[in-house]
């Protein structure tokens, strides 16, 4: 009788454990399933005109997801927006320098590469960047250069370098990006210094050189600069390769050109990232995977005239774009060019000299 009781209790005990384990497994499984359910809505933000036409619409049609797109012209703006609401966007695009900043501020979610099998399409040279080892929080999108949109009606054809911005003939018709690092970078490069200089003397020298411009008029945002060239208000504008090349392509009757200065320039890689508290992280990952499809990626790069980090997309790309040395600069130029890196505590010097340009 006693033995029977013990057996009964033992059986009951085992039974309870088995039931708990099975229940637990299903609960966890369901939980996992929930995380892998597509949302009906995706809130994203990107630079202005940074998706080819139809790319978003195709995604919406294929997945039945409605995409809400906000755009920006200044990375500081999107940084501020994400900082004040970590769950506002599910997807944004920022440069490597900003990936670095946002990671330091813990603003980015870790990306689950298992949901992005097309990650393998990205060229090996663009994977595992120094600002984001193992692409923990960022996936390369497109890359390009900072250069000059010129109107050859007014400028000497193909002879423009950074130094020429200070040419007496041009100086009043130049637009520089209203971006501390880009404008300072142009000046530093014209002086033969690194765009990431942390030398106070070099920084001051570069800033003094920029004082020759009328800050309020000359330092403008990307669109304004390009517009000013189109409307003949300016002859030369510091701009990004794709934006310039697309504009040139759209205005074949104008004598416009995109020039990568001989001194070398800024090369940047834009990255797709997911803010840390994104509400639809899984859907954003599916969206990233979609953007990395060779055909989709090729469409983006070809229409936007930007160089592609997606190697598998090359065979689908517009040959004109793929073979354009202004999109894919020659090795000689690349070797002389640099990427922006954090400048540490020299940032305060940059802040000071930059602000001085606007407040005389």
């Amino acid at each position: 009788m006693k033995k029977q009781t013990i057996y009964l209790l033992f059986t009951l005990f085992i039974g309870v454990i088995v039931v708990a384990a099975v229940l637990g497994y299903y609960l966890l499984k369901n939980d996992k399933n929930d995380k892998h359910t597509l949302a009906t809505e995706l809130n994203i933000a990107n630079w202005e005109d940074y998706f080819a036409e139809g790319v978003i619409e195709d995604f919406e049609a294929e997945y039945g997801i409605s995409v809400n797109l906000d755009t920006y012209n200044d990375e500081e703006v999107i940084l501020s927006l994400v900082q004040s609401d970590l769950g506002k966007y599910d997807f944004i695009v920022v440069s490597g320098l900003f990936v670095d900043k946002m990671k330091k501020l813990k603003l980015l979610a870790e990306i689950d590469l298992e949901n992005i099998p097309n990650y393998s399409n990205i060229g090996a040279g663009f994977q595992n960047p120094s600002y984001d080892p193992n692409n923990q929080s960022s996936i390369p999108y497109l890359w390009g250069t900072t250069g000059l949109l010129v109107n050859n009606d007014y400028t000497k054809e193909n002879e423009i370098g950074w130094q020429d911005l200070w040419d007496k003939e041009y100086v009043n018709h130049v637009r520089l990006l209203n971006d501390q690092r880009e404008a300072m970078g142009a000046s530093l490069k014209s002086l033969g210094h690194s765009i990431n200089s942390e030398d106070k003397k070099q920084i001051t020298e570069a800033a003094n050189k920029l004082k020759e411009f009328n800050a309020k008029e000359s330092f403008v945002d990307l669109d304004q600069g390009n517009d000013d060239v189109l409307t003949d208000k300016a002859w030369i504008a510091q701009t990004y390769s794709g934006d310039a090349l697309e504009l040139i392509d759209e205005n074949p009757d104008r004598n416009l050109d995109y020039i990568i200065p001989e001194e070398g320039t800024v090369i940047w890689v834009d990255n797709m990232v997911i803010p840390r508290d994104a509400k639809n992280k899984y859907t954003a990952e599916i969206f990233i995977n979609y953007l990395l499809r060779p055909e989709v990626s090729a469409k983006n790069a070809s229409e936007l005239w930007y160089a592609n980090t997606n190697q598998a997309a090359e065979e689908y790309m517009d040959q004109e774009v793929l073979n354009d040395p202004k999109v894919y600069p020659p090795k000689k130029i690349i070797e002389k060019s640099e990427k922006f890196t954090p400048i540490g505590e020299s940032q305060t010097i940059y802040n000071e000299v930059w602000e001085e340009l606007f407040v005389q």
Partner: protein, 408 residues
């Protein structure tokens, strides 16, 4: 067959009585420990909430005084005058910083969001993108949430106030930056032991101050956020396998309501319980003492109950040995004494019976002895006669012999 272990009734009874004593002791000990624990934890929780509230008040008053200071500083004539040069403004800012060294940086920013003069120029942010800057432009003195400056990495609270010129127009904005470390220093009293720590979270549930800098800017753990939805209170949570007691308060003063910060005071439960454990130990010690007493008394009671049985046992054994006059001496006035009385009566009867029997035996013996004596006497007479007869026979025989010889 295995022989069953025999437990003497004495031990059985002792154990039974002890057990009956132990159960209430164990129950009362458990209840007291539970009650003590609950009482102390409740008191601790309430005190954690009070600490959170006290710290919150300190922070609020610190922020308020900086708010007032910023307003005061903005009234300096150097700032108000349109004739002041950039260098003069900077000089004034440096001077002010010596009076108010708590500020990391002081800046005067024009309405376009460009810095006219600053001591350190360490804020790179786009002023025109910030609500608190725009509100200051509208004439309101504002406090930013926690703002992070990347290089060098630090977090500040920014106060922005309009600088009004003599025509009552906003000329520029004065910005002061109070490092969050300063806020922290104000509440980090020495009483904070390792076991207790405080964290501050902003309106986005992000940690803006934590003793471990790695936790900075992380979102509040779910286990903390879900229990802290009220204005204030306390709860228990488990973080990294450690059970924690938490008291919290919200910055709900009208003045800071937009900041909506929350302050949390954590204390490791294990440390609190350690304090409780000495109390628990004394309860356990007292219980063990009570258990020993229960056992001693139990066994003594057991012995007492069994004393009459022992007495009866001795009596029975003695009577068995033949000491029929032996009597059981039981004075318990219960069933045992009745039993002893019956036993003694029985013994008495046996003794009496035995005594009568002896008397009869003696009498019979006496009678037999008498008969024996008479028999012995008659026997002697008979033997004497027989001997005389033998002698006579012998004499006859010898006479016969003599006469025979004479004839021959």
């Amino acid at each position: 067959m295995k022989e069953k272990t025999r437990l003497s009734l004495k031990i059985k009874l002792g154990l039974a009585i002890t057990l009956v004593g132990i159960i209430p002791i164990i129950i009362s000990a458990t209840v007291s420990i539970g009650l003590a624990r609950k009482t102390i934890l409740d008191a601790k929780n309430e005190s954690l909430q009070s600490i959170a509230e006290a710290k919150k008040s300190i922070i609020e008053s610190l922020l308020y005084s900086n708010y007032v200071n910023t307003k005061l500083i903005a009234g300096k004539s150097t700032f108000e005058s349109p004739d002041s040069s950039k260098d003069e403004i900077k000089e004034e800012l440096v001077k002010i910083n010596t009076i108010y060294p708590e500020y990391d940086d002081l800046s005067v920013v024009n309405l376009d969001g460009h810095v006219i003069a600053s001591i350190n120029y360490d804020y790179e942010g786009k002023w025109l993108e910030k609500d608190w800057f725009l509100e200051a432009k509208e004439g309101k003195t504002t406090i930013s949430g926690a703002q992070t400056i990347l290089d060098p990495f630090h977090t500040v609270i920014i106060f922005a106030t309009p600088i009004i010129d003599e025509n009552d127009k906003t000329r520029a904005i004065l910005i002061t930056q109070l490092p969050i470390d300063r806020v922290w220093a104000s509440i980090e009293e020495n009483v904070d032991r390792n076991s207790r720590f405080t964290i501050l979270a902003d309106e986005n549930k992000r940690i803006i101050y934590h003793p471990s800098s790695e936790e900075l800017f992380n979102t509040l753990p779910q286990g903390v956020n879900q229990y802290s939805q009220n204005k204030g209170g306390f709860f228990q949570t488990v973080q990294n396998g450690e059970s924690l007691l938490v008291g919290y308060e919200t910055f709900d003063d009208e003045f800071f309501s937009e900041m909506n910060w929350k302050i949390f005071v954590f204390e490791k439960e294990s440390v609190v319980l350690k304090a409780i454990s000495s109390l628990e130990l004394s309860i356990i010690a007292a219980s063990i003492g009570a258990l020993i007493i229960a056992a001693v008394f139990g066994f003594r009671l057991g012995f007492q109950f069994l004393k009459p049985i022992k007495e009866l046992k001795t009596a029975a054994r003695n009577i068995g040995k033949g000491k029929l006059s032996f009597r059981a001496n039981v004075k318990t006035h219960d069933e045992f004494s009745e039993l002893a009385k019956i036993f003694n009566e029985m013994a008495e009867k046996i003794e009496n019976l035995s005594k009568n029997l002896e008397k009869k035996v003696k009498q019979k013996t006496k009678e037999l002895e008498e008969k024996n004596r008479v028999l012995k006497k008659s026997n002697a007479v008979m033997v004497g006669r027989e001997l005389k007869m033998i002698k006579l026979k012998e004499e006859i025989d010898s006479l016969k012999q003599e006469s025979k010889g004479k004839r021959e």
